[in-house]
């Protein structure tokens, strides 16, 4: 979900979205694909461009998931922005991990475009005013070393949506005078059906399972509705309303 937020948007199966002559290809799936199950949500997204021009940097992303989509964070730990900025993902508790990902960034250096692979690490952060917060740590090393922490905050979602998240994306500078970095493609894999940690429960060391992401118990006709709002640094806004197909069987 965060990747979707970071990149632009995620849709159910496969979607090609026209975008100023280019396209945003998004693929998303639940594993296992079963109603009511603790599951993994995997997302891939990439800009397809006919010209060698990078997409404009993203400044804000808002994503609404379908009603009934749950995040069960019981027994999960949390990490903070400070720890993540100072010590990186290794400084966060193992039980605060939400997921992983990566992608390719585009750096518009003078006279050339340079593509840089990056990784993503997602963590639970302490709730704020009773609302969930997620942290994403984007890291790249070559040719430009980058470590970036962004916060996704839970927001109210209008019907027929349920869970919503919004994230402000800071602009990443590369070298003086060069354009801000943009994202060409990204992927994320969030949650899992078999995550477990040892915890002290009533004084005993017990293996507890973290459900994490939970697929809605019912799927409306036409699939799970989702919505994404992508705001770019050049002032343009892009809205998509894809659906996630209902599980078969």
């Amino acid at each position: 979900m965060l990747v979707a937020i970071l990149l632009g948007y995620t849709c159910a199966a496969l979607a090609g979205i026209a975008w100023a002559g280019d396209a945003l290809i998004v693929n998303e799936a639940f594993t296992p694909d079963r109603l009511g199950a603790a599951a993994n949500l995997s997302i891939t997204a990439s800009f397809a461009s006919s010209a060698d021009v990078p997409p404009s940097p993203i400044s804000r992303l808002t994503l609404y998931g379908p009603a009934g989509l749950g995040i069960q964070a019981r027994y999960a730990g949390t990490c903070t922005e400070v720890v993540l900025e100072q010590r990186g993902p290794a400084g966060c508790p193992a039980d605060s991990r939400v997921g992983f990902g990566g992608g390719v960034a585009v750096l518009a250096l003078p006279g050339q475009l340079v593509r840089e692979p990056f990784t993503l690490d997602f963590f639970f952060a302490p709730p704020e005013h009773g609302r969930l917060r997620l942290l994403a740590y984007a890291s790249g090393s070559s040719p430009v070393g980058v470590g970036l922490v962004v916060v996704a905050r839970e927001i109210r979602a209008p019907k027929p949506y349920g869970l919503g998240f919004s994230v402000q994306v800071p602009q990443v500078s590369t070298i003086p005078g060069a354009a801000y970095a943009s994202v060409e493609s990204a992927f994320a894999t969030l949650g899992a059906s078999d995550v477990a940690y040892f915890k002290r429960v009533h004084g005993r060391r017990t293996l507890v399972h973290v459900k994490g992401l939970i697929v809605p118990g019912r799927c409306p006709a036409g699939g799970f509705p989702t919505r994404g709002v992508v705001e770019f640094a050049d002032g343009t806004t892009f809205i998509v309303n894809p659906t996630i197909p209902c599980p078969r069987g």
């Binding site: 290794a90 992983f100 040892f198």
Partner: protein
Amino acid sequence: MSARLTPCAWLTTRARLGAALLAVPASVVLACATPARSAPTSGSQVPATIAASFHPDKLGAMGALTVTIDLAGDALGDPPLLRRSVLRLPAGLGVEIPHLRSCEPHRLQLLGARGCPAQSRLGVGRALVQAQLGSQLLGESISLWVFLGPLRNLQPTFEMLAQGYTPFDERVVLSGTVLPDNPPYGEDLVLSVPAISTLPLEPGASIASMSLTIGASRRSGRESNTTIEPTHCPSGGFPFAAELTYADGSMQDVSTATPCPR
């Protein structure tokens, strides 16, 4: 397995079974009391090591054999993706199984180690599995149990239960076979290692190290299976070797010689 052999019956099969048992763990790792570590014996980009030891270390003695294999990482620290291992055991190595019981793999998968008779348990061990997820190389400690499997085409087999708990509560059952080898080896333990998936879109996990102990140095009532150290030790020590095949098709041979008892 429903068949039960008397303490004499195992004599006819102990060499094979013993080898099979040893081979299973060995396919992943070999370790020993007086470890004799070795360097790769063939051209490979990934240096692995193998070690084996007997406890007690006495010719003809019943006890335990520990085999450990370390699969060192590549230049980036990522362990290679192991897909098959053949563990070569020294000639004369045996396994005593007083009460011949076997374990069905589907019971292991369904119920875990408690799903199979204690008499069918050949050994236990540990493994470290690693995967590069996001920016981090994450590891999971795996508990191993080795059981005597059902005969296949009159060949002894073994079943290895691999159980990880955290961060992923996963259970995998691997099946292996025992095949005859040529001197100075007695039998080979052949184990196919399936791809270890982690999360969608993320790379699979690989085995970084593995250690398995077959038999027990002290007998208990229900878990009485032991290894039998060969009665003769060749000059240079007991030979152990492993042939490792990786997902990229490359192969690596490692070998070691465990010193003869003093």
